[in-house]
Amino acid sequence: MTDAKPISPAEADQRVDAEVSGGVTEGEGPQLLSWDSRARRIVTVYIPLVIFLIVLLFPFYWMAVTTFKPDNELLDYKNHNPFWISSPTLDNIKKLLFDTDYGHWLVTTMFVAIGSTFLSILASVLAAYAIQRLRFRGSDYVGLAIYAAYLVPPSILFIPLAQVVFQMGLFDTPFALILTYPTFLVPFCTWLLIGYFKSIPYELEECALIDGASRLQILRRITLPLAVPGLISAGIFAFTLSWNEFIYALAFISSTENKTVPVAILTELVSGDVYHWGALMAGALLGSLPVAVFYMFFVEYYVSSLTGAVKE
């Protein structure tokens, strides 16, 4: 829609009208389907967007609907519309909150996510700053090595990590997760921050050097304040991944009360071959809320830092 002449909305309407009635205004035949016409916009922009939204949001809708459905509606699609709730109920949520350790799981998950995010960001800031700005001998290779570590899939890495966790006596504690999540968080965050640090003008640091600042003072007072969008997006990334992580949480935690939400709802709300769908979906819904809220506040930073927006 960029290469068209700008036309007024009224003009666009007229053209659409002409199309609809099958009439062709004099001399305007070939321009009828200009990029700016409303019909064209509906077909090329709005319809795809709506389809996209439906595909993306339907799982959430299903989750929400299931959460508030009584069991008889949930299991009987013949007499009840599967897409709607006739008699909403809070039984599932009540069951989740009062008959299970859900509160405990949430707290554990939060603790693990915040702890591993904090650790990863701290390590990544120092690593990224050193690689990007100190340019020590071999810094490029260190950067590549960190990235290579990211390419090792967790499903392989969890076996050796399990050994480490056992030997350090961390099995079945939140620290088993807080200390292992950085294995995949640090590489990504480091690379994201390297890119962000690169966009901060180098002269600022040279100027600060002359002004009498040490490297750590420069990092704390010049570079980090300017890298806040980058830090936020690295933080969101790390937090989301730790919150949703499954394999390590499944492997390194065994007792019910120490489990994280994704693992717990699957292992504790499925008894044998009975799926407690209502409570399960309620757990998933409540579990995804913190991340959604987190994103809502910071989505602009997230986008701007991933696309490398620079300002001076």
Partner: protein
């Protein structure tokens, strides 16, 4: 305030040497400008004085102390960068106070020093603004304020005016010169603009390809350039050069004969191939002079620049008189013999 000595300094990046042994002496309180085309090594030299680049060989001393291995913050210098390097997340006040706050200076001292710098530069109304809310000239002033606040021994400027528009550049030029006269701090200033160099400097260092071509006062360089490079670099429009040889007490190029300088250099004997240099403003209208064909006239009001063909060479003349000749017509001109320069054709050095 201090002297700065650069002695036989060389700089190499990997195997590429960009400075080939540079010597510069800066007196206490002097305003020295390093000037040269881009890539000549002037900024690198400045950054070495600031301590942002290592010295590969040679010695740099500030105030008599060799600083080769001294950290930038201990050299007692202040630097103004080309893009100002203002901290975007700090107000004007905090930008200027940053260096003092790092020293844990008492609040009253910071307030007094920032206040004084703001007063000198007329920045009081903007102290609580952020850099992005300022115009180019104001940002430039904040960058200078940041330097003044530190009360350093040496000011270093790295092409500070090149991001400004032409009019502002002229105004800031005068402002920086005025500032230097008031503070009297030793200043080293890098630019590629020879007009800036001519108008501001006590001493100009002309650099080219990692070497110092000539060093001296602005008018010394203008009146007695040591070689073709300096002759062509200093002055605007640039000096005209004509190739030819000396015969019978005159300079001959093609069919054209021009008078030798009043004081004929000792090496200017008959048959010697030389390059004859004459500045556009030193060509005079003279009915008895040689005829040149007008190519283009460019009236600027105060003077008229004429591009014309003298024999086979194109030369530029700048005349105070109004030129009525049309392109293709001829104009009789003569060089002012007191202001003619002769250079050796092979080495490009001045004959004297």
């Amino acid at each position: 305030m201090a002297t700065v000595s650069v002695r036989a300094v060389r700089k190499a990046f990997g195997s590429t040497e960009v400075l080939h042994g540079v010597d510069v002496e800066v007196e206490d309180g002097e305003f020295v400008i390093l000037v040269g085309p881009s890539g000549c090594g002037k900024s690198t030299l400045l950054r070495m004085i600031a301590g942002l680049e290592n010295v590969t060989r040679g010695e740099i001393a500030i105030g008599g102390r060799v600083v080769n291995n001294v950290a930038p913050k201990e050299r007692d210098i202040a630097m103004v960068f080309q893009n100002y390097a203002l901290y975007p997340h700090m107000t004007v006040h905090d930008n200027m106070a940053f260096s003092l706050s790092l020293l844990n200076a008492p609040k009253e001292v910071i307030a007094a020093k920032v206040g004084r710098a703001a007063e000198i530069l007329g920045l009081q109304p903007y102290l609580q603004r952020y850099p992005r809310q300022l115009s180019g000239g104001q940002r430039q002033r904040v960058a200078m304020g940041r330097a003044i606040v530190r009360d350093p021994q040496v000011f270093l400027f790295d092409e500070p005016l090149s991001n400004l528009d032409a009019k502002l550049r002229v105004a800031m030029r005068a402002e920086i010169k005025d500032l230097h006269q008031r503070l009297g701090t030793t200043t080293i200033y890098v630019t590629h603009d020879q007009i800036e160099a001519m108008t501001m400097a006590d001493k100009i260092v002309v650099m080219n390809g990692g070497n110092v071509e000539q060093m001296g006062g602005p008018l010394d360089l203008y009146d007695r350039p040591d070689n073709l490079f300096v002759a062509g670099f200093i002055g605007s429009p640039a000096m005209n050069f004509l190739k030819g040889e000396i015969r019978g007490g005159a300079f001959h190029t093609g069919d054209v004969a021009l008078p030798l300088p009043l004081q004929v250099p000792s090496g200017a004997q008959d048959g010697r191939r030389v390059i004859y240099g004459i500045r556009p403003e030193h060509l005079l209208l003279d009915a008895a002079g040689v005829a040149a064909t007008v190519h283009v006239t460019e009236p600027t009001g105060s003077e008229t620049q004429v591009i014309m063909n003298l024999g086979t060479t194109q030369v530029v003349g700048a005349f105070r008189e109004r030129i009525t000749q049309k392109p293709g017509q001829s104009l009789h001109i003569a060089p002012d013999p007191a202001l003619v320069h002769l250079f050796d054709e092979k080495t490009g050095t001045r004959l004297s």
